[in-house]
């Protein structure tokens, strides 16, 4: 089954952003994931056709980057940071605890297709360690208990809001569309900065600098 006329037209607008069409391959792959949930054969074929490339060339790019999935992931994709700093401060314990809770391990999805799990590398939020990402939204300063609550919330259909993100957690497909450059209008939701981001500023102000 091919993509709809509307979807194909969106692909053309993505390609038009770039001086050379091949540059659109990454946002197009994000876009395919926003429709199909992962990089499907029809996605590869359509991108290849649009960009005048061999399917092997598109596959070569898709398989290089860990965010592109060759199999379906959950509606909520949970990433536990287990790079050194987060791991030491609790990321390893959180990962073990989540595996127990879900009955799955990394790179697996729950049978109902709701939640998938990944061990992720440093996600640039070390001052909020241990960090957990769901659909690439920040959940800062996590503990095994808080992540259990997060997972229970996802299962019950009312996940807690990201710490620094929109008011409501969006699905994997919805967030993939954002990464393809399709606005969801939520940029102004959520805090401008978390507490750790403001630490130095607050101290400087208390000391009356500037």
């Amino acid at each position: 089954m091919s993509f709809t006329t509307e979807e194909l037209a969106v692909m053309d607008t993505i390609i038009a952003r770039y001086p050379k069409s091949r540059s659109a391959i990454m946002p197009l792959l994000h876009y395919v994931q926003s429709i199909d949930g992962y990089v499907t054969p029809r996605g590869i074929e359509t991108i290849a056709e649009k960009l005048n490339l061999a399917t092997a060339e598109v596959t070569a790019v898709s398989t290089f980057y860990t965010q592109y999935k060759s199999e379906p992931v959950g509606e909520y994709h949970v990433g536990i940071c287990t790079n050194t700093l987060c791991a030491v401060m609790g990321g390893d314990a959180i990962y073990e605890s989540v595996c127990d809770r879900l009955g799955i391990k990394k790179d697996q999805t729950t049978p109902d297709g709701k939640i998938s799990l990944e061990r992720i590398e440093c996600n640039a939020a070390c001052d909020y360690a241990p960090v957990v990402m769901v659909n690439w939204e920040f959940y800062d300063n996590q503990t095994p208990a808080s992540v259990n609550e997060l997972i229970d919330g996802v299962r019950a259909g009312n996940p807690p809001a990201p710490t620094r993100g929109p008011k409501e957690l969006r699905t994997w497909k919805q967030n993939s569309a954002v990464l393809a450059g399709l606005s969801d209008g939520l940029a102004e939701e959520g805090v401008q900065a978390g507490a750790a981001s403001l630490l130095g500023l607050n101290i400087a102000k208390a000391q009356g600098s500037k």
Binding site: Y68, G181, Q192, L201, K210
Partner: protein, 433 residues
């Protein structure tokens, strides 16, 4: 007088700091108007004179980089902003983009004008959706306000700006891998020369700058070169963001003139977490050789850190206390480099696998003294023998940890395994987790 000097972070405590209105309330986009009245060469000269150096790791003078772009060559030029922020420990650009994206947009417009680029790109790591939303909105609002697009502020200068999401590859923080990725290929570093200034994006003259470097440009144009030069040290001018993380009482961002020390930052942050002491730390991410308590007074500027045997890097101060097993920490970093090696160069692709195998044995107490020598020999055959610095980064934690903690490696053998309790180093040990 505070040791701190918030500039980029000065208004992050205002709820609308990320909006164009919030930015303009504090003189936002005034530097742009000023820059457009000068000639492009004058702008380059100012940035050169200010002494601004790259904030992404290498510390190359930003103005010099700009001046390498050939002029009058009738070719398209590109400014590409590296917002891939993936170096373990590094967490400055994402909060900056979340709270103050317009400082980057304004810097990009000024920088593009200076190097005569009419299309610029922001390559943002893909694993931060809300940051993507904020930056995209900032770009859209800048277009609507006439700061992007055709004939910006009546100057005759045109600029298109495209935000591009990565997809989870540390290597794309390396500038030539980033360019390959942006061109739609696997993100693998290029052989240099030619450097990007001659043949960068689409083989055209290209400047690749870090987010913080470019975001610093408007403040220099607005407040003047002397203002900027008055901060910092002799060869490391200006202010910068230091990111404190790990076993400290209060982790967070500290914006200060270059040259502040970890001792000073730790004092401001309330010290190490209660009842614990500093064991080891990185000055600028995991690729920068680790330091110990003996380096608390090293000035955190480019020269100070490098003369003490490491690199200022991204100023990612990752702090570990005495509960942390250094072998475990290093193994995890090496596993990261193995995972992120792009596979192009043999010493890195194969070598990082070997490193992980030996490190795993060592951590499990199954290694020997001879393995330590083998490890160092491997490091010697990996560092400096690949296209890019990933390989050098992979060996940095090993070599530096063996320098300061060789006895701890040995202890794993005599103990028949890791002597540390991993629960003790978590933040929730007392919570009974």
């Amino acid at each position: 007088m505070s040791l701190l000097n918030p500039v980029l972070s000065a208004h992050w405590d205002e709820a609308d700091s990320f909006t164009i209105a919030g930015y303009q309330r504090h003189d936002g986009y005034k530097a742009l108007a000023k820059a457009l009245k000068a000639t492009p060469d004058e702008v380059i000269a100012q940035i050169k004179e200010s002494g601004l150096r790259g904030r992404g790791g290498a510390g190359f003078p930003t103005g010099n980089k700009w001046s390498f772009i050939p002029q009058g060559d009738k070719k398209a030029h590109y400014l590409v902003v590296n917002a891939d922020e993936s170096e373990p420990g590094t967490c400055k650009d994402m909060p900056l983009l979340m709270a103050n994206p317009h400082s980057l947009i304004e810097g990009i417009i000024i920088g593009s004008y200076a190097i005569r680029a009419n299309h610029s790109f922001i390559y943002l790591r893909g694993e931060v959706v809300h940051v993507f939303r904020r930056v995209q909105k900032a770009i859209d609002d800048a277009y609507a306000a006439g700061f992007l697009g055709k004939n910006i502020l009546g100057s005759g200068f045109d600029l298109e700006l495209t935000l591009h999401a990565g997809a989870g590859a540390y290597i794309c923080g390396e500038e030539t891998a980033l360019l390959d990725s942006l061109e739609g290929f696997r993100g693998q570093p290029r052989l240099r020369p030619p450097f990007p200034a001659i043949a960068g994006l689409y083989a055209m003259p290209t400047v690749v700058n870090n987010v913080e470097s470019i975001a610093s440009v408007p403040s220099i144009i607005q407040n003047g070169v002397e203002w900027f030069q008055a901060m910092g040290t002799e060869k490391s001018k200006g202010y910068t963001l230091y990111s404190l993380s790990g076993h400290v009482t209060n982790p967070g961002q500290f914006e200060a003139p270059l040259g502040i020390t970890l001792r000073q930052i730790l004092e401001l942050a309330g010290g190490m977490r209660a009842g614990h002491e500093l064991k080891f730390w990185t000055p600028g991410g995991s690729s920068t050789p680790m330091f110990t308590a003996e380096h608390l007074d090293v000035p955190l500027d480019y020269e100070g850190v490098s003369s003490a045997g490491s690199m200022l890097g991204t100023k990612a101060l990752q702090i570990f206390d005495e509960t942390t097993c250094v072998v475990r920490a290093v193994l995890r970093w090496v596993e990261f480099y193995k995972h992120e090696s792009c596979g192009k160069c043999t010493p890195c692709r194969e070598g990082t696998w070997w490193l992980v195998q030996i490190m795993k044995d060592l951590e499990a107490g199954k290694g020997s003294e001879a393995d330590l020598e083998k490890l160092l020999d491997l490091c010697d055959n990996i560092a400096g023998r690949s296209f890019c610095a990933l390989a050098d980064g992979a060996v940095a934690p090993i070599i530096s940890s063996l320098k300061y903690f060789r006895a701890e490696y040995i202890l794993h053998q005599t103990n028949g395994g890791c002597p540390f309790d991993p629960v003790a180093s978590t933040l929730f040990e007392t919570a009974g987790a």
